[in-house]
Structures are given as structure tokens and as C-alpha cells.
Amino acid sequence: MLNRFKAKSVIQSIFLHTLLMAVAITCLFPLIWMFRSALMTNETVFVDKALIPASIHFENFYLAWTKGGFGMYFINSVIYTVSVVFGIVMVASLAAYAFSRLDFPGKNFFFYMFLAAMMIPLPGSFVPLYVLMNKLHLANTRIGYILCMINVGLSLSIYILKTFFDKMSPALEDAARMDGCSKLGIWRHVALPLARPAIAVIVIFNTLNVWNEYILATLLLNDKNLMPLQRGLMVFQGSHSTDYPLLMAGLSITALPVILVYLFMQKHIIKGLSAGAIAG
């Protein structure tokens, strides 16, 4: 009886693992194929279909980085990501702190305004944004794109930080106030360090979001020297004889930082997602 029960559960677990493994392989295979093909040449890539190619070439990465312009795109992506994320953390934490701790007329109105922006989908908002940036002479400038992207991540970040501050005990802040610390000082030296877990979530989500952003980068930045990676990659779309190893090297350069950030930070990401899901 016990043996039969055991056998049943073994069969069940074999079945489950087969299913899970099959799905896991479909997740991993395209990425492995991308890295592997980046290490081949244009001659071998269509002939040699072994998972580990017979001869390995790193030239594609060098070519993509220099001739393909991916070195420049990469630096641009880093500039945009770092400045947007830094901007969002500053601007959103200031506002969220005020919404949670300080008092002023119209507080709820302003907070619900940000909340509403989060709820209302506005497809095609890139059209008036493009018009506006041209009017302000901010089209085709780094700062224009950075400001637009700060706005994109602002509402959600304010919401996450405000909920965090609401749950945080104000004891330490009160103590600092007693010691004569200014409001800005309390925000900078007490509240921000304590909010580190929430800030980590914001940093990761916005990093992925800015790094992966495509449409505004395409519409607002015409100058090749200003383009980020996602825009640079799309040059390959629709070209007649694609140099696949070079494209795969470009894709690897784009995807690798995201994958690394994800692997190192996956605890925060999954926690943030699950917490957000249950709160929602």
C-alpha cells in the first residue's frame, strides 16, 4: 500500500519535472542559440547547426562593438539608464516622502493625480510628446529623452515609495527632528537610508524599463551618436542580407547586462512583483 503510494508520487513528480523542464528549455534555448551563433562566422552559421560550434570566433563582438556602433550605443544606454534611474529615485522619493509624512493643502489631489496617470492607459502619447519636444528644442538631445523617461517611471515609483514610507515607523525621524534636523536633512539622512529595500525595487524595475525602452528613443533621437542599444539593433530589421553572427553579437551585448542584473537581483524582482500583485 505504502509502496504503491510512493510509486504514484514518483511518477507524478517525473511527469511534473518533464513538463517544467520542457518549458524551461524553451525559455533558455533561444538565448543559448543567440550566444552560440554570435561566436560563429557568416560562412559557418548556416551550415553548422551543432549546439557547440566546431570553431569559435570572438571577432563578431569586436566588430559589433567597433564597426557596428554597439560600443557607442552601449555607452548611450548606460548614460540614459543611470541618469534616469538616479533622477527617478531623487524626484520620486522627495514627493513620496511629502505625500506620506508632510502636510499641505491639496496633498491628496496631487497624489491621486499621479495615481490616475498610472491607471489610465494613453496609447499614442508619443505623438504629443514628440510635438512638445520639438517645440522645446529638446528633440534629439540627451536631456530631452532623459526627462521623458523620468516621467514614464515617476508615478509607479512614487506609489511604491509612499506605501513603504506609510508602513515605516516614524520614531527615528521624530528623534532627528528633536535634534534639530531640517526636513530635507531628515529625508536625506533618515528616511532615504531606511527606505533602501523599496529603493532597490525602484532601481531595478526602472533600470530594466529604461534599458529596454524603444519607441521614444526612436522618435526623439535621430542622431546616431545619441541612440541607445534597442534603437541600434533595429537597423538590422528588414535589411536584406542580414549578417546574423553580427546581429547575434549585438543582441548578446544588449541582453547580457539585463540578464546579469536579473540574476543578481532576482530576489528583489520577484519579491517586488509578488508584493505588488498581492497589494493590487
Binding site: L20, L102, L273
Partner: protein, 311 residues
């Protein structure tokens, strides 16, 4: 004396309030310029005919909206997005729930699966689209199929299945929908798994003691408890899938491919291709309105479910 004291006090209060406003000033300023003004401008432009460059905008009232009502390609693109959304709702979410159920127990390598399943969602649509458009490519070079799928089909002697996946109007949209589901199921998986883990284990224990089999447990405990999570995932799936377009651009490109047009690629074409900024804005408003109404309706249903549960 008393009066000056009161005055000084209110001055301090005023200064304090002003200081508090300074905290939200940067956020409100950015929001006003980059969200509220564009919001006003999209409404304003939708009543005008404008090429995006000229100084004159011609007011045409509801002209753009009337034109949209008769724009067959626009409504076809809406149907395409609906088709992608339907596949995502059924296939992607069923897969996500099945996998979440499998991982909501003590099995080995649970962490590994969780990490791997959320890998596609962190990649950009450009990366995902470009990898898959190569795998699904139907061309031939050096006597071998360029695309991996056709290559395997040839090698497996299934030549009759070799297909122009992305250029045949019959299969292109389904391919896009499946790649979209591939990119999205990991997200649904994480949220559903989190939902499953909030269910009290004692309920399962009690059901087991009462002699309920796994299917009874699933039907009478798990699924009813998960309804709010399902509805939330559904709303977000609809909002995300209806607005898909970067994946379309990176898999099949833009222009000339009417069979894969979705609303956002139409808006983009009205703007950059046809230079009809007013029409593009009107399309955006119509589309946004449809999205708001559908998510609002689902939200209402989800609230009703919650009330029923509380009763």
C-alpha cells in the same frame, strides 16, 4: 504683542507649508510638462488636421473621429490586437497557471524554474523579436533554410510543414501571438504562484482529511480562492497585449504588412508615415477609450466577486 506673535506663527506655518510644496515640486513640474500637457495636446490635436510641421492647424471638429469609424484598416488592426490578446489570455495564462500549480509544492529545483521562467519577461521586445524572427525565417541561404524551425522540419523529413511563417498572412499573426505569450507567461507565473502561496495550507489539509481528491481540491478550493488574482492578471494581460507593437515591428517590420497591423503601429504610421498628427491623436484617444472601458468593466466584475466572497 499677542497679535505679532500670532502673525509670526502663521508666517512660520506658511513657510513650513511652502517648504512642504518644495518636496513635491520637481515631481509635479515634470509631470505637468511631460504628462498633463501632452494629455491636453492629444485631445486638442484630435480635433485638428495637422501635418506636424506647418504653422496652421485646421480645426475639423469630429472629422477625424468620423473617419476612424469608417477606417477599415484601423478596425482590422484592432481585431488583430484582439486576436493576440485572446491567445495570450487563453494560452499564456493557462500555461502560467499550470506551471504555478506545479511549483506550489515541495519539488526539487523550484528556484531554478522560477528564475528561468522569468527570464523572457526581463528581455526587451526588440531582442525577443529579433531572435525569433531569425528562428522563424523562411529564406534559404547556402542551400540550407535560414530559420531554425524550417531547418529542423527539413532534417526531420517533414518538408510539407516547412512554411513562410512570418510572411504568410495565415500564420504571421499567430506566430507573433505565440512569441508574445512566450515572453509574457513567466510574469503571469510569478504572480499566480504568489497568489497560490497565500492560500492557507490548512484548507488543503482539511480537504484531504475529508477525502477530496486533487481535482476536487483544485475545483472547490484553489480556483475559487484564485479568482481575484485571475481577474487582475486578465486585466493586465489585456492592457499589455492590446498595446503590443514593438514585437510586431521587430518581427515583421512596418509598412506593406497589413496582415500584422495592430492599433499602435497604425498610430505610428499616421504620424510618421502619413504626417497626419491630428488623425494619429484621434486614433490614440479612441484606442485609449476602448482600453479604459474594457479594464473598467473587468474591474467591476472583480469587485463583485470580492463582495460575493465576503458575504
Amino acid at each position: 504683542m499677542a497679535e505679532t506673535k500670532a502673525k509670526r506663527f502663521s508666517f512660520l506655518e506658511f513657510k513650513g507649508t511652502a517648504e512642504n510644496y518644495l518636496f513635491i515640486f520637481p515631481a509635479v513640474a515634470i509631470f505637468a510638462v511631460f504628462y498633463i500637457y501632452p494629455f491636453y495636446e492629444i485631445l486638442n490635436l484630435s480635433f485638428h488636421e495637422w501635418d506636424g510641421i506647418g504653422l496652421t492647424r485646421t480645426f475639423i471638429g469630429l472629422g477625424n473621429f468620423k473617419e476612424i469609424m469608417q477606417d477599415k484598416v484601423w478596425w482590422t488592426s484592432m481585431w488583430h490586437a484582439g486576436y493576440i490578446t485572446l491567445i495570450a489570455l487563453i494560452f499564456q495564462n493557462a500555461l502560467a497557471f499550470g506551471l504555478a500549480l506545479s511549483c506550489d509544492r515541495d519539488i526539487r529545483a523550484r528556484k531554478f524554474y522560477r528564475v528561468v521562467f522569468y527570464l523572457p519577461p526581463v528581455l526587451s521586445e526588440v531582442v525577443v523579436g529579433l531572435i525569433w524572427q531569425w528562428i522563424l525565417h523562411s529564406g534559404i541561404q547556402s542551400g540550407e533554410p535560414i530559420g531554425l524551425l524550417n531547418f529542423f522540419l527539413t532534417k526531420a523529413h517533414l518538408n510539407h510543414l516547412v512554411h513562410n511563417w512570418l510572411s504568410d498572412p495565415k500564420t504571421a499573426l499567430t506566430c507573433i501571438a505565440l512569441v508574445h505569450s512566450w515572453k509574457g507567461f513567466g510574469w503571469g507565473f510569478i504572480i499566480m504562484l504568489a497568489g497560490l502561496q497565500t492560500i492557507d495550507r490548512q484548507l488543503y489539509e482539511a480537504a484531504r482529511v475529508d477525502g477530496a481528491g486533487p481535482f476536487r481540491t483544485l475545483k472547490d478550493i484553489t480556483i475559487p480562492m484564485m479568482v481575484p488574482v485571475f481577474l487582475m492578471v486578465m486585466i493586465l494581460t489585456i492592457l499589455g497585449s492590446m498595446q503590443v507593437f514593438v514585437l510586431v515591428l521587430s518581427m515583421v517590420g512596418q509598412g506593406l504588412v497589413y496582415h500584422t497591423e495592430v492599433p499602435v503601429t497604425r498610430i505610428l504610421l499616421s504620424m510618421t508615415g502619413l504626417s497626419r498628427f491630428g488623425y494619429a491623436c484621434a486614433q490614440g484617444i479612441v484606442f485609449g477609450f476602448i482600453l479604459i472601458v474594457s479594464s473598467f468593466t473587468l474591474n467591476k466584475i472583480s469587485k463583485r466577486f470580492k463582495q460575493d466572497e465576503a458575504r
